[in-house]
């Protein structure tokens, strides 16, 4: 059994550093990273609000996350555990977001499809880093040196706000896409698929079908 390669990476990485990443590498991040989920994309892209930080010079790392955190009465922040949320839900916003902000590291849960990678990650020189577990919330929380700012929390609530965090050897993350547009999860799925027929042997389809099990909506599902 081989042990994955370990790499330190800046959240404003050089194109050479990104090009050197291989699927399955384990990455630890240094620098500023911002969180962005539904609320941030809708506010920035649909409502055309100004993004309240300089991107990508301050950070090229977009984290699909909302932390377990609080804003204290004196305005200071406490951050506990940090875990990503599933990224596939943000695919509709990411092409425009990447074009506008120059994000190079998309960090989240579960990755995107190889079509996404080829269509807008690779042309933007970006790769996907997956959190591990899921989720190593306490480990990642330990990697947060401090909270730099929380934007839009009044408009969006704590969970949807844009948290800007200073990462200090924050990780682990796993490289889940590369500059070929290859997808780690699809590679693993393909290996597992070889075994599926054997596992299902002897089982039988349900007597009552459901939509999705036939593509023709004029079919009866009984």
């Amino acid at each position: 059994m081989s042990v994955p390669r370990e790499i330190r990476l800046s959240t404003t990485p050089t194109s050479e550093a990104i090009a050197s990443l291989r699927l399955g590498d384990v990455v630890y991040l240094n620098g500023l990273m911002y969180t962005a989920r539904e609320g941030v994309y809708m506010r920035a892209l649909a409502d055309r609000a100004n993004v309240p930080m300089e991107l990508p010079s301050e950070s090229a790392a977009n984290f699909h996350c909302s932390p377990a955190a609080r804003i204290n009465a004196d305005g200071s922040f406490d951050i506990g555990a940090v875990t990503a949320t599933a990224s596939f839900r943000f695919a509709k916003w990411l092409p425009e977001w990447m074009a506008r902000t120059g994000a190079k590291l998309i960090v989240g849960k579960g990755g995107m499809t190889s079509e996404d990678y080829k269509e807008y990650f690779v042309p933007n020189g970006a790769v996907y880093l997956s959190t591990v577990g899921y989720g190593t919330g306490a480990l990642l929380g330990r990697g947060v040196e401090r909270v730099e700012a929380v934007h839009w929390h009044e408009e969006l609530g704590l969970a949807q706000a844009m948290w800007v965090i200073k990462c200090n050897r924050m990780g682990p993350f796993i490289v889940a896409s590369d500059l070929n547009g290859d997808c780690l999860f699809e590679r693993e799925n393909a290996k597992i698929a070889e075994n599926v027929a054997r596992v299902y042997r002897g089982t039988k389809p349900a007597v009552m079908k459901r939509y999705g099990e036939t593509d023709d909506r004029t079919d009866e599902v009984i």
Partner: protein, 320 residues
């Protein structure tokens, strides 16, 4: 009479424990999985999770940033009275949930389904859920508070099967659920898989959820034939070849628990639930005298909860 202040204090302590401390039974199960795992990436993931549990306890920070949707199961002895009545108990549990959300801190996950209103405290319409059970034994005044912070998005499914689908149909839907939610690790496996069989549709979901969150790793259904199925299904899930995060591996299911309820004669409804790598549950029994005993086994499924008869007579049941 159980003092209401003690209920709230205990509930806050439970919220903290559930978010931070992995239950020992799940930890033992995951250690065994890590020892047997030979997939490169799966193995790395399991080791990182084991390290994560230690860090959570050392730092007193939540195991996972998605701290789930807190809910409560309350079990009362037959003679128990609560100071202020059950309305006061519900207020205490809601207050404890809100206080601990900022105290631990937890992520304020609960929002209105349409307006997305977030009270930033995990309390709102129907949240946290509070469910009740009652027990004839042991006698005396006591209440069990059980909090579970289960994730809410992936890993759960329901299907109306029919008697002619049989065990092979049950197996297929079980595998379908693991395949659907296991890819890319959306179910946050290896998990405690709970299966509900029977009941009406809502109760089928309830049985499966309770099977995953209210039974510990290594427990077995009191019906020996169901217990055999639990063993078989655990092995079946682990034979898919899928491990943590959907990487190649041999550990998908830390344990499989099945609970049943009588259903309509024409049907065989089934639900599947996955209690994730951060299986957040914590339990305490509060006695009327003020004694509080913490534990991690909800011990929910007693013979009384699974009773089949009209009246409950433990002496007669034991004699049969």
């Amino acid at each position: 009479m159980i003092p209401i202040q003690l209920i709230q204090e205990t509930a806050e302590a439970l919220m903290d424990k559930a978010a931070i401390e992995i239950p020992q039974d799940y930890l033992d199960g995951l250690r065994a999985a890590a020892d047997s795992e030979d997939g490169d990436l799966s193995s790395f993931v399991l080791k990182a999770m084991l390290e994560n549990y230690e860090v959570a306890k050392e730092d007193r920070r939540a195991m996972c940033g998605d701290t789930g949707v807190p809910r409560w199961f309350v079990k009362l002895g037959n003679e128990t009275q609560v100071e202020g009545g059950m309305v006061a108990l519900e207020a205490a549990l809601r207050r404890a949930t809100a206080n601990s959300t900022s105290g631990v801190p937890l992520r304020p996950n609960r929002v209105h389904p349409l307006w997305r209103t977030d009270h930033n405290n995990n309390v709102g319409i129907g949240a946290p859920e509070i469910e009740y059970g009652f027990e004839p034994e042991p006698e005396g005044e006591w209440v069990d508070l059980i909090t579970v912070h289960k994730g809410g998005l992936f890993g759960t499914d329901y299907r109306m099967l029919f008697p002619s689908d049989g065990i092979q149909g049950i197996k297929r839907f079980y595998l379908d659920s693991l395949m659907a939610f296991g890819k890319r690790g959306l179910a946050c496996q290896p998990a405690i898989i709970g299966i509900g069989l029977g009941g009406s549709k809502d109760i089928c979901m309830t049985l499966g959820k309770r099977a995953s969150v209210l039974r510990v790793v290594g427990s077995r259904n009191s019906d020996p034939r169901i217990a055999e199925l639990e063993d078989e299904f655990k092995e079946l899930g682990n034979s898919i070849g899928m491990g943590a995060m959907g990487f190649v591996g041999k550990n998908m299911v830390i344990d499989c628990n099945i609970e049943v309820g009588f259903c309509h004669t024409g049907g065989m409804p089934m639900s599947v639930h996955a209690f994730c790598l951060s299986s957040r549950r914590a339990v305490a029994r509060i006695h009327a005298g003020g004694q509080v005993v913490f534990r991690t086994d909800p011990a929910w499924f007693t013979d009384y909860q699974r009773r089949e008869t009209i009246d409950w007579s433990p002496v007669r049941e034991a004699a049969e």
